[in-house]
């Protein structure tokens, strides 16, 4: 039996949002499986509506299905209502493309976009009918693979995942397919699993945790060392040098039901060297690789025509930094084929007036909200985190937005940042109030939404040594803001649950011992932990205690420079001494400019990998903020002319 559909369909009448499970998207494939084809099941371990838009998964889906010797299908974590029915009716995890059981595939490949999905990974492995712990699996079970940003600290999932992929996946999935094809051709004989895993350690960018021994000294890590001489000591990330060679997805999936980011998405560049010290994505995806503007235009116009979407998003980590973004935007918006009906969005907008003028152009059709991310409430703290937005940049951007008709501006902040004092926290309230005051000059109903998230230090960033704020400290800071803003009706304060921030902290910088905690939380029913209605901190705290692990040790303590970090054997190309120096610069409140437009400060990525930035323009974008429009010739420090401006207090 290949299709489970006749057994799945009767269950759908009893669940919410049954369209999550039918597939049938435009762009979906119904590949023909066969003994000569390596079968990948690409699993997004969260609900369909969150997972479907994931571009990484869609890119690999197309690349693999283009091969003669591979097929790829997709699966998403079933929501709890269907999961209960699947378990009681003995229906395993299935693909949405041909509704094939997950156990029929050679590889279950997970996308790890966030730490709180880890328990869902275990749940999906279990629903697939495989033992959750890697050593318990035999030749009859699929290989469990995981990639994505969280794979840069693979250790918390090391007991459950056979193979991690570090970095860009476009090339490495082909190399893995070839190794697995031999395993499949050999008939997956008893004992062959160990052999294929050993073979895979020879593929650059692949980390097989079972091939490494971990030594501890009390609570500390002593070393993580390969068990065999041919297994690499350090696994270097993979990097696609030229995005122009990878115009994927060529056929973006168009879902039949509502999903997040329900629009055409075109990736305009990968990597970011703004150097925000809290930002793991910016650190691990260096260098900057722009897609040629002409290719962006083609992907947009072909994509809109094919999908029928009326919205396109030009995605990257800071889209306004794309060389000549204004020209690209004008070209799309004014393209007569789009009949003036297409709206365009740029996620991760920089904070300056130039950005707003671009935003005005793109939102001719429909005005959605305008969001800026100053991240911290004072200039001092923004220097610490290297988000070099002056207050006047923000006010200029906000004034420009309100004057051009926006009524509501959203501001993103973090709290619990290194060196943060109460006056920094309260600076968030001041900025928000000042923005409202500016808005009132143009519109009596002007308002600001300030969203505040608790900061979680991430591996491979300068803040990886920083002790995260405890729950009560984060709650106290949120309380300060609530009290301060109580009477400001025009400022809406929103905050992320500090308890979820703690659980994320456990998984973010955990080592291999944290695996037992993840398993315990899962066994006690803790799935969909990134959904507030399912999140339960008590499960995490009790599991930590049961396995003798200290939250203080893993989350809130400051780490030292001589300590072995659980991810030291995984490399994003960044030298550890560069990161440490950047951490020291942060504590000294020194900003560091963007190396795209200024001399190299040798973080290690370009030099070690023999690659470089691919940018069409050697000049920083107009409008000047975050240090880029300034005279940065004085070197690594941000010039004094950028120092604090009035307006606060």
């Amino acid at each position: 039996m290949t299709s489970l559909w006749p057994r799945i369909e009767p269950l759908l009448a009893k669940v919410q949002k049954p369209a999550r499970y039918i597939g049938c998207e435009d762009g979906a494939r119904t590949p023909v499986h066969g003994s000569g084809r390596v079968a990948w099941l690409l699993v997004y371990p969260d609900a369909y509506e969150v997972g479907l838009p994931n571009q990484g998964l869609q890119i690999l889906y197309e690349i693999l299905n283009e091969r003669d010797d591979a097929v790829a299908e997709r699966a998403y974590a079933p929501w709890v209502d269907l999961e209960a029915l699947m378990r009681s009716h003995r229906v395993p995890l299935f693909s949405v493309d041909t509704h094939r059981p997950a156990g029929d595939f050679d590889l279950l490949a997970f996308n790890l976009s966030a730490e709180l999905v880890y328990t869902n990974v275990l749940n999906c492995i279990d629903l697939a009918g495989a033992p959750v712990r890697a050593p318990d699996r035999g030749p009859e079970h699929p290989l469990v693979v995981a990639g994505g940003h969280c794979a840069f600290n693979p250790e918390p999932l090391a007991d459950f995942v056979d193979v991690f992929v570090i970095g860009d996946g476009e090339e490495v999935v082909n190399e893995i397919t070839e190794v697995v094809a031999e395993w499949k051709a050999s008939g997956r004989t008893p004992g062959s699993r160990e052999h294929v895993l050993r073979e895979l350690t020879g593929v650059a960018g692949v980390y097989v945790p079972s091939m490494y021994d971990v030594a501890y000294e009390g609570p500390s890590l002593r070393a993580i060392t390969p068990r065999y001489p041919d297994v690499p000591q350090r696994v270097e990330k993979r990097t696609v040098a030229d995005l122009a060679e990878w115009p994927y997805p060529k056929q973006q999936l168009v879902p039949l039901t509502e999903v997040v980011h329900d629009r055409l998405n075109v990736e305009i560049f990968r990597g970011c060297t703004r150097g925000c010290r809290f930002c793991q994505a910016g650190m691990i995806t260096r260098p900057v690789r722009e897609r040629p503007a002409e290719q962006v235009r083609t992907m947009v116009s072909d994509g809109l025509r094919r999908t029928g979407y009326d919205e396109v998003s030009l995605t990257s980590l800071s889209s306004a930094d794309f060389s000549g973004i204004d020209g690209v935007v004008a070209g799309i918006v004014n393209d007569p084929v789009n009949c003036g009906q297409v709206s365009l969005s740029l996620p991760s907008l920089r904070v300056d007036a130039f950005t707003v003028s671009v935003a005005t152009e793109i939102q001719k059709v429909r005005r959605t909200g305008l969001t800026f991310a100053p991240e911290a409430g004072t200039w001092r703290l923004r220097q610490v985190i290297n988000k070099l937005i002056r207050e006047e940049d923000l006010y200029g951007a906000v004034e420009s937005a309100y004057s051009q008709g926006w009524r509501r501006v959203k501001l993103y902040f973090m709290t619990g940042l290194p060196t943060e004092m109460d006056e920094d926290t309260l600076g968030i309230a001041n900025l928000a109030r000042n923005c409202v005051a500016i808005g009132r000059r143009y519109n009596k109903g002007a308002s600001v939404t300030a969203s505040v998230g608790g900061f979680v230090p991430k591996p491979h960033t300068p803040f990886q040594w920083f002790g995260q704020n405890a729950v009560d400290e984060l709650q106290r800071k949120v309380g300060l803001l609530r009290d301060d803003l109580r009477r400001d009706r025009a400022v809406q304060l929103r905050w992320h649950d500090p308890k979820a921030t703690l659980a994320e902290g456990i998984a973010s910088r955990g080592d291999r011992r944290v695996g037992a905690v993840i398993e315990e939380v899962w066994r006690r029913g803790g799935v969909f932990q990134e959904w507030s209605e399912h999140f339960d901190l008590a499960l995490w705290e009790e599991a930590m205690a049961k396995h003798g692990l200290s939250i203080e040790w893993y989350v809130t303590r400051h780490r030292t420079d001589d300590e072995v970090l659980p991810w030291d054997h995984i490399s994003a190309g960044l030298h550890k001494d560069f990161l440490w120096q950047d951490w020291q610069d942060a504590l000294a409140e020194h900003g560091l400019p963007d190396c795209r437009w200024t001399p190299c400060y040798d973080c290690g990525v370009c030099t070690d990998y023999g690659i470089e930035h691919v940018v069409a323009s050697a000049l920083p974008p107009a409008g000047g903020s975050q240090g880029t429009g300034q005279d940065l010739s004085v070197g690594g420090d941000v010039p004094v002319t950028l120092l604090p401006v009035g307006g606060r207090g």
Binding site: P10, L12, V254, E258, G308, D310, C339, R366
Partner: protein
């Protein structure tokens, strides 16, 4: 005023698990794909002018769904070519079976449709004849149902205009029911609840929607039998 086209379409196979709102979005995308110049509402957030009839419950199939589309005045639309143009732009299982230009001042589908015919199929061991007989013989049938968050107990017997025990092409038991849509539409699920709360259907299909013209019952748009082959998955 614009030109208005009435479209009849079917929804069969896996796509039946999509919602009424999902179907509206499918149509918006399909019209943009084939560059049909829809008229848009004015204002801050313009929307295409599309008018759907009575919502089909999620999970039900239909061979009698309707949609009125407003197209800008200037557009030169080949009405006869629309089914062949639109069906490939819609998901598998959604196919256009008839199109006609209508008077933009004609009553909307919501106002005009007064009843629907449904076929409701069951597993082979379900006995329908006695249930049908008892229902038709009773003077009232009470059902507890919800609307806009409020529960109420209603007598649905007056809304059952016709009911008979039939069989599917495969010989499985199947109800054919003509159910009123006014003053409040009786849904197939609610009918089953009235007949026997333990009944579990294997398939619900809307086969007709009915309007009245000059005292005669007719469909908002007739379709020639076997006019279009289904692409349902």
């Amino acid at each position: 005023m614009g030109q208005r086209f009435r479209i009849r379409f079917q929804k069969l196979g896996k796509v039946r698990w999509t919602s009424h709102r999902d179907v509206a979005r499918m149509w918006e995308r399909a019209c943009r794909r084939v560059q049909l110049p829809l008229a848009y509402t004015a204002g801050f957030s313009p929307r295409p002018k599309m008018h759907f009839g009575l919502a089909l419950p999620t999970g039900a199939e239909s061979v009698a769904e309707y949609l009125d589309l407003d197209v800008v005045d200037e557009a030169d639309v080949d009405v006869d070519g629309l089914p062949a143009l639109l069906s490939p732009a819609l998901p598998a299982g959604v196919d256009v079976t008839a199109v006609a230009a209508i008077d933009p001042k004609a009553p909307s589908l919501q106002e005009d449709v007064h009843s629907c015919t449904w076929r409701v199929a069951f597993a082979p061991d379900v006995e329908l004849a006695a249930l049908v007989e008892r229902a038709l013989a009773s003077s009232s049938l009470l059902v507890e149902r919800e609307r806009k968050g409020r529960m109420s107990v209603d007598d649905v017997r007056p809304a059952i205009l016709a009911l008979s025990a039939e069989a599917t092409a495969d010989g499985d038991p199947e109800l054919e029911a003509l159910l009123a849509t006014r003053p409040r539409a009786l849904r197939p699920q609610e009918l089953l609840q009235a007949l026997d709360p333990d009944l579990e259907t294997t398939r619900v299909r809307r086969t007709h929607q009915w309007i009245e013209r000059d005292g005669l019952r007719e469909e908002p748009l007739a379709v020639a039998p076997h006019a279009v082959g289904a692409r349902a998955q």
